[in-house]
Point group: C2
Chain length 349, copies 2
Amino acid sequence: MVVMADASSFFLISSPQHGFCSITSSDLGCTKYASSCGMHAKAHVATRTGVMDWRMPHSSIPTTFRKPLMMLNCKKKGLELVSDLGLGSFVKDGFVFRQNFYIRSFEIGPDRKVLVENLMNYLQETSINHFKAIGLFHDGMGSTPEMNKRSLIWAMTKLHIAVDHYPTWGDVIQIDTWTVTSGTYSMRCNWMFRDSKTDKILARASSIIMMMNKKTRRISKIPDEVQAELKQIYVDTQFIFEDDTRKWSKLDENTIDHVCNGIMSVPMTIMEKYELASMTLEYRRECRKEDVLQCHTYVLGKTNDGIVDCDHVHCQHLIQLEVGSGGGGGDGDEILKGRTKWRPKYEKC
Amino acid sequence: MVVMADASSFFLISSPQHGFCSITSSDLGCTKYASSCGMHAKAHVATRTGVMDWRMPHSSIPTTFRKPLMMLNCKKKGLELVSDLGLGSFVKDGFVFRQNFYIRSFEIGPDRKVLVENLMNYLQETSINHFKAIGLFHDGMGSTPEMNKRSLIWAMTKLHIAVDHYPTWGDVIQIDTWTVTSGTYSMRCNWMFRDSKTDKILARASSIIMMMNKKTRRISKIPDEVQAELKQIYVDTQFIFEDDTRKWSKLDENTIDHVCNGIMSVPMTIMEKYELASMTLEYRRECRKEDVLQCHTYVLGKTNDGIVDCDHVHCQHLIQLEVGSGGGGGDGDEILKGRTKWRPKYEKC
């Protein structure tokens, strides 16, 4: 589960539909977080704009990122193990954080390919280590000092991941992550997965994370003081990644609804012959311990259950509250809406 | 799930009750596996006997292990990444394999302590990397060339793990693993978990793995040719670890039976106030995809559900087949029997 906030509860919350925001750049200003790294600094960096095309080869990523000066000086504090244990390091003038992962025996499926949930785990881990290494976030879950003052935490509201090639057991993958501003309510995190040996792009991901009040559990505008803190980590760039702007398709009597109590509801016929090519998840509200969930998977454009051809398969997914634990959710409330695209596992399936 | 065999199916199989076997030592003989490492060798090593006390401080482990000569010469082949990415290395004259793990954000519970299932994942990973590093096992799941010839695979039949202290997110734990012979049917794998900074013992584990025919799915005696291959990896030592020899307690009308369809059946009152201190699992037969399982947890020695005191809690667990998928199992067949001991999370619970 990819959730970036305090570990005491999972929160999957309602998300306004967010598209891409235009990215503005401004001078780098240093605030109180500086003192927490044992120093004070103020810097002005020239504003430049770059375009990052996720489809470009690695060497072509423009290095027009603004440099977060703070983290370089914070490196010596408690991060000695970074290089030893592969906890990641900065590249591209310090604006991109890179971490390698060895695909372990317990992270794979029967075909020895990594399971997508483990790729999602890596996303979370890379971002958290990124934030830690910057030295700005001290609670371990990405909250800045100004956020802590206001009881604000991060909540992921949307995640889009596209996997071109699944790495297999024993492969080493290299994940680059960087953050861009995304308006007054949210921040965008991006990830690029590559095979560390061949440099081949394996997967791309992007998420919207929003600010939530820890007590009221409501979405909050990002306060100016927090925006000032975050400025230093934003990469001043646009990037091209086919965002999933599809609308939730209308369901009719031809749509097959696979229902189950639990998380798993993709039909076995799909799981066996297809692999997940891309997935977009929208977290619409929190669910809590002891909530009972119901999952629906709608296989689109099929008039019967015979998913035997070699076409891609498109699904829509809905997780809703069946029985709430009393935490405020009503029965039937939507927890998550998702869309998935599946491609045949083999050329001739 | 800790299963050491081919990834195409999980196998949890019936286990004769195994105690500790006396360990005999003999000369090191080299067989055909040597050629697979691109060389031939034959060595005679003096027989010595050591005693390994798991409660002893780290530096006191006697270095009386016989040296597996093969692996030292195989090291250059495909193991370049071992030191870079923390995939482990040999210590104690090459008889103990050591790997470090950084506790990641997605491996912890709400209290930021690692979940026991992740400790079990580390067991598997360390042992597999151990076997790989020796250069004897080429299929990735620990099958030797002589095992491959005979369609033999490994199956874990018993696992005992005791956790003194749970490491938390960001801790680095050091796992030592070594193998001892255990009669004509099985091999024993041992693991010791330490805090890499303080050297404090965190957990200990031991398992019995047996040989199974991949086609018939039946337990097999270890053939002499395989025993000859395995000799080089055995540590010539006894070790002291309080083995769990308790028998399955008789259940009476005072025993509370918590039943659920799924894997989770430990009552929430235990999960909230107690942490797992030790666990013994006996895998009694395989289960397969689409089998439907039923779990029972029996809380021992309690006449009501009010588990509120500060004593340790003892449970027995049974996973049985509710509906078989047609793979040979009958309804009600025992898949796994387990015993767990829980201690209060806080001194004053």
